[in-house]
Amino acid sequence: MSEYSPKILGFLCNWCCYTAADSAGVGRYQYPPNMRVIRLMCTGRLDPSFPLEGLATGADGIFVGGCHPGECHYIDGNYHALISASLVHETLDRLGINKERFLIDWASAAEGPNFVKIITSFTQRVAELGPLGSAEGLDQEEMRIKLTAAAETARGRKIRTGLINAGKEMLKGGDFSRETIAGLVATKCDKALTALVG
């Protein structure tokens, strides 16, 4: 097991986390070399299927990094990212996969050290969980097939309509806490998810 090195895929927003990652480099802060990065302009671009697809295709953990709440370069894209993230968490939960394999967190452009801290501890956590399925006691191949199906569902109209409704209520309610958003998504997408995974 000591040879095991987790595979992590990261989605970083251009304005905060990607910049934080760059500034960590400028400051020569060292962190584990496990993550591969996909740059997005905003975490709001995060399609709920991306993290699921990432896990299906071989990642043991997925990280999404954006601007701090209230500091999004595009006003509120990171709140919409929380909607997508909630769906991912909900899906993982229902598939019996440890939710900690998917992390969404924030580091401002100035917070290179904070970014390093987040990535270091996430990498450690995923390493502890081991390869996808091992901590869960699930068959990896089977899991990846299920995740592929989940990603496909996340691109489908039913789930996305649920996310739209959750997003509208989030904006109406003005409460952007993770718990509230997770609750909204769980309610609005319940049917569609049940149809997928039970």
């Binding site: 595979k7 895929l9 251009n14 990607y18 910049t19 990652a21 760059d22 500034s23 960590a24 480099g25 400028v26 400051g27 020569r28 802060y29 060292q30 962190y31 070399p33 591969r36 990065v37 996909i38 740059r39 997005l40 302009m41 905003c42 709001g44 671009r45 995060l46 399609d47 709920p48 991306f50 697809e53 990432g54 299906a56 295709t57 071989g58 990642a59 500091e71 370069h73 595009y74 006003i75 509120d76 894209g77 919409h80 997508s84 401002s108 452009a109 100035a110 917070e111 290179g112 050290p113 390093v116 691109r155 109209r157 996305r160 309509t161 996310l163 739209i164 997003g167 509208k168 904006l171």
Partner: protein
């Protein structure tokens, strides 16, 4: 590749402007000027632009990282072909006349060729001689061959001639040996340049209060007394302690910190009887960050007055104070002593006359702003007047003009000020230069021109991969040859190779040749970060006839070799993965059309007060048509209610003059008694319906300036309108303009500050009322020296040079007494009409409540904005809870609204004085004219696109778009969404939410990202 856009202008006026000083003000004005069509020579005395803002850790009130918001502007300046940066340079003389100046600039040698230096840092690594690191306040060391800071522009190192071993002793010279680019030039010489320019903008920033003044407070005597600038660097992650606030003496975290305000400010003993206007804010910011660094630390701030008078500042201060449990003491400790068993002893007297003493671990001196050290030599060289404090002399109604025509001043040299005000003035001065040099617009600017783009839509992807060594920055860790070899094995890669420095000028040539030779149609550069270098390579692609959207970068330095220094194998694997993922994405890139949307070259200004007419004039003087809409019958607005400014001049005359000029201006059309009824369109193409008495009119315009103004708060407190003896300051202004302002019998006048403001009714500070009370108090005293005047105040916010008025008022015998918000003065009316009023207030010195009979009570009432709701709804621009328009960025875009093409100035933005209003209106004009001067707008092609076949018209995208850049339209009976390309900023929320996947993003397509994800997985499979 560059050519003159216009060979010569019809006049002999120069189309170039010299900007002196590369701080945020100079940087912003340079960028604004080139956008308006003028060439800029940016003269900076140090080795890099960035100024003080680059040294700040965070900025008040948002605590945004200072450098992060500044750095993109610095890079932009560095890249702009129309800005020539002259570092280590000084403007030494200015001859000629406005429009045709000759500027004499002396430039010191850098000893490292800026054009060749790649910024790899080898010279510093091998440099034997150490010097203090000025950027880090000399709290750590640097080398003689150095770059001022990591993000410095120009990204070129330089050698400190005073300490270099080679230059002084003819030894060492190691840097020249290790510099692989061969950029070291020990024979570099000082040069004097004669540069023809049409105008000059001075932005030299500020000087520091001398150490001598600060030694009184222990600086230099006790290690743990530090300046705020030092504290700023200690807080900063890139600072000398890596972002830890440590005492200098024992490198321990201080547990008790004191911030001392007004060091070298409001202090006649050091001849600085002005308020530095920024220290209250930065101290609160620093205290907040100190709290973040150490939740258990005790933090005390000593104020004379808390002057947080800017927009949103009071609210931010209150939040910070309560959230962080700061102790606020109104006192000015006269000195700091050290005591036998360690610690710093401070003694102070509070306003009730009691004495206190206490020990602290760390004392931070909130050092004031002085005129620049070389203010006098600048003034002499250029021939401008200074005020008594050696700041540039300006006039209330032309706040950005110096005494010499054609020479403007912005930023702290114009008077101590913060970043937003400096940035505002920067845009304002650019507008004034643009007007002055209007005939020469675009005469000296060059336009990058490129060959026609090749149509690659029918070609199979042929990707070229260039893997950069970045000297040893990447190559020292990552096995670059192996990565390049690996790239060759990837699908669709037609060519792969290594570069020593991909960003060097010669590498660009190689890239172009290789693209042609191998018929490449996509380019991947594996090097540093796209955030800084993508534009460079994209320009190279354009040179090679490829669309710039066909480019992708793999970040193998900042996010790979630099962060996995000790794991070369893992770093090499990571680099290979990054390249594979970039290539996968590149295969899905398509040429994106850069839309050039035409602009209607005219402006709409809403509001005909001082802000509106100033903005209209500044736009019209640049040669653009302006339509002005004013609700009232005449122009001039609320400024006409003032009868004197603080210099004794009558503002009504000055404003009337502006009104007359506006009325007569051939480029300005005025609609009075009219209102905006509807607005549609986007930047460059607005259509507005103006409803007036004479019916409605449709106006097409490119931009819109909102100058809807404000009005005085109408007090319900203190028996206003119940007694003729209760006035507002504006009522008093009116009386002061008459022959007999006061009945002879008047003996006592009381003024109450903050009536309606600061939580009384309005949550905010109205900024101008303290100054107005001082001015009117002095006017009263001057006509009736025997009059007793009492001012009841909370904090006298006599910021900047208004402090002079505060001192004068006290010297004239006006008495000031602070009241607490929980214990406001009470007023009772007398029995008869002529009997005096009684004011009950808590006398701080006596320590008891006293009652004062007064013949007149003057209320300093706040400013309320005119209701912005309907305009805000029409334009989809945000307003604050206080109903002021909310700017795009409080620090760096203070007059831009978040919707492109919309701008704000004057009281509609926040309460402000006349000179500030004028500067801000000129700024709005400067920003607003940029698209007009350009003639077109080019949205970045990362915008969303809707596939109408898939769209079901659910309007989710319209609901979620933060910029209202996607709208539903009807196509027959069907509803479809459509992107308004000019408004879209490319965040992608619409694409992530679209239920039918009908929306995709330019360059960040579904297919492209999926390909990246799958390429990530493919590596694992291997």
């Amino acid at each position: 590749m560059n050519e003159h856009a216009q060979t010569a202008s019809a006049t002999d006026i120069s189309g170039a402007v010299m900007v002196v000083g590369g701080g945020v003000a100079g940087v912003q004005t340079s960028l604004d000027l080139t956008e308006l069509g003028y060439k800029v020579y940016l003269v900076e005395k140090s080795g890099a632009i960035g100024g003080v803002m680059a040294r700040l850790d965070k900025t008040f009130p948002t605590n945004d990282c200072s450098l992060c918001i500044l750095a993109p502007k610095l890079v932009e300046v560095g890249r702009d072909p129309n800005i020539e940066i002259l570092t280590l340079a000084k403007l030494e003389g200015l001859s000629g006349e406005p429009g045709k100046f000759t500027a004499r600039v002396r430039k010191q040698p850098r000893y490292i060729d800026e054009e060749i230096c790649t910024g790899c840092g080898q010279c510093t690594l091998y440099c034997l001689k150490q010097i203090g690191n000025d950027f880090n306040e000399n709290l750590e060391i640097n080398h003689v061959a150095h770059i001022d800071y990591a993000q410095a522009v120009p990204t070129s190192y330089h050698i400190d001639a005073k300490a270099c071993l080679r230059l002084n002793y003819d030894t060492c010279g190691l840097c020249a040996v290790v510099c692989q680019a061969g950029a070291i030039r020990f024979d570099d010489k000082e040069v004097t340049l004669e540069i023809p320019v049409g105008a000059v903008i001075l932005a030299p920033g500020f000087g520091r209060v001398s150490d001598e003044v600060m030694s009184k407070y222990g600086l230099g005597r006790f290690q743990d007394v530090i300046t705020a600038f030092e504290h700023e660097r200690l807080m900063c992650a890139s600072g000398p302690t890596g972002g830890e606030i440590l005492r200098i003496s024992d490198k321990k975290h201080p547990k008790k910190i004191a911030f001392m305000q007004c060091i070298g400010s409001r202090d006649e003993t050091c001849s600085n009887n002005y308020c530095s206007s920024v220290c209250c804010m930065y101290a609160i910011k620093q205290a907040t960050l100190a709290r973040e660094h150490d939740p258990d630390c005790e933090i005390t701030l000593f104020f004379i007055d808390v002057r947080t008078h800017g927009k949103g500042f009071d609210a931010a201060r209150e939040r910070a104070t309560s959230a962080n449990n700061f102790r606020i003491i109104y006192a000015r400790p006269p000195q700091v002593e050290d005591v036998f068993d360690g610690g710093l002893l401070m003694t102070w007297a509070t306003e009730d006359g009691r004495h206190h003493y206490e020990k602290f671990d760390l004392v931070v001196l909130s050092q004031g702003l002085e005129a620049p050290d070389d203010a006098q030599s600048i003034a002499q060289a250029i021939g401008i007047d200074l005020n008594e404090y050696l700041f540039a002399q300006t006039d209330n109604y032309t706040p950005l003009a110096t005494s010499r025509p054609g020479v403007y001043v912005i930023g702290a040299f114009q008077g101590p000020k913060d970043i937003p005000d400096s940035v505002t003035q920067a845009a304002g001065a650019a507008a004034l230069c643009a007007a002055q040099l209007a005939p020469a617009r675009s005469s000296e600017t060059i336009k990058a021109s490129f060959p026609e783009e090749r149509d690659i839509s029918q070609e199979e992807p042929r990707v070229g991969v260039f893997v950069c060594h970045c000297g040893i920055n990447i190559g020292g860790v990552v096995n670059v040859p192996r990565v390049a070899e690996y790239a060759k094995t990837l699908p669709n890669v037609a060519y792969a190779s290594e570069n020593l420095y991909s960003c060097s000028q010669d590498a660009q040539k190689v890239l172009v040749e290789t693209i042609h030779e191998h018929k490449l149609n996509r380019l991947v550069v594996a090097a540093c970060t796209p955030r800084t270098h993508e534009p460079l390579f994209q320009a190279t692609m354009r040179e090679a006839g490829l669309n710039r959207s066909l480019f992708e970068m793999a970040n193998i330095r900042d996010q790979c070799s630099w962060v996995h220094i000790h794991e070369p194998e893992a770093a090499t694997d990571k680099a290979k993965d990054a390249v594979r993922m970039a290539v996968a994405k590149a295969c899905h890139l398509t040429s994106l059309t850069e839309q050039q949307l035409p602009v209607t070259p005219s402006a709409l200004v809403v509001g005909g007060g001082l802000a509106g007419i100033t903005a209209a004039l500044a736009i019209a003087d640049q040669g653009f048509a302006v339509t002005m809409v004013e609700r009232g019958k005449t122009l001039g607005g609320k400024a006409l209610l003032l009868s004197a400014d603080r210099y004794g001049n009558d503002p009504r005359q000055a404003v009337q003059k502006l009104v007359n000029t506006t009325n007569k201006h051939p480029k300005i059309t005025i609609h009075t008694e009219a209102e905006v009824a509807a607005v549609s369109g986007y930047v460059g193409n607005f259509t507005t319906t103006v409803e007036g008495k004479k019916g409605s009119k449709i106006i097409n315009h490119g931009i819109i300036v909102l100058a809807t103004g404000g009005r005085p708060y109408e007090p319900k407190q203190y028996h206003y309108q119940e007694s003729a003896k209760v006035l507002t300051q504006l009522d008093l202004e009116k009386r002061l303009a008459t022959n007999l302002p006061l009945p002879k019998s008047t003996r006592q006048v009381v003024m109450i500050q903050c009536v309606g403001s600061r939580g009384d009714d309005l949550s905010y500070c109205s900024r101008v009322c303290c100054g107005q009370a001082l001015k009117n108090g002095i006017r009263l005293k001057e006509c009736r020296p025997d009059l007793q005047i009492m001012v009841l105040y909370r904090d006298m916010r006599a910021y900047g040079f208004l402090e002079d008025d505060y001192r004068k008022a006290r010297q004239l015998g006006i008495i000031f007494n602070r009241y607490h918000v929980d214990n406001k003065p009470e007023v009772t009316l007398g029995k008869g009409k002529s009997s005096p009023l009684h004011v009950k207030y808590y006398d701080i010195l006596l320590g008891e409540t006293v009652e004062l009979a007064t013949d007149m009570l003057v209320l300093s009432v706040g400013i309320v904005p005119e209701d912005p709701t309907s305009l805000a709804k029409m334009l989809k621009v945000p307003v604050t809870a206080e109903k002021f328009f909310l700017e795009a960025h409080v620090k760096l875009q203070p007059v831009d609204l978040p919707v492109d093409g919309t701008f704000v100035c004057g009281l509609a933005h926040s309460p402000k004085s006349m000179d500030e209003t004028i500067a801000q209106a000129q700024a709005a004009a400067g920003r607003a004219c940029q698209p007009l001067a350009k003639g077109f707008v080019t949205p970045v092609p990362i915008v969303s696109q809707v596939d109408p076949e898939l769209c079901i018209g659910c309007a989710a995208c319209e609901t979620f778009c933060p910029y209202k850049a996607i709208r539903i339209y009807k196509e027959g009976k069907k509803r479809k969404a459509r992107t308004i390309t000019a408004s879209c900023k490319g965040c992608g929320v619409c694409a992530a939410r679209c239920p039918t996947m009908a929306i995709d993003m330019g360059r960040f397509t579904m297919d492209g990202i999926m390909a990246q994800i799958h390429a990530f997985g493919a590596g694992i499979a291997n």
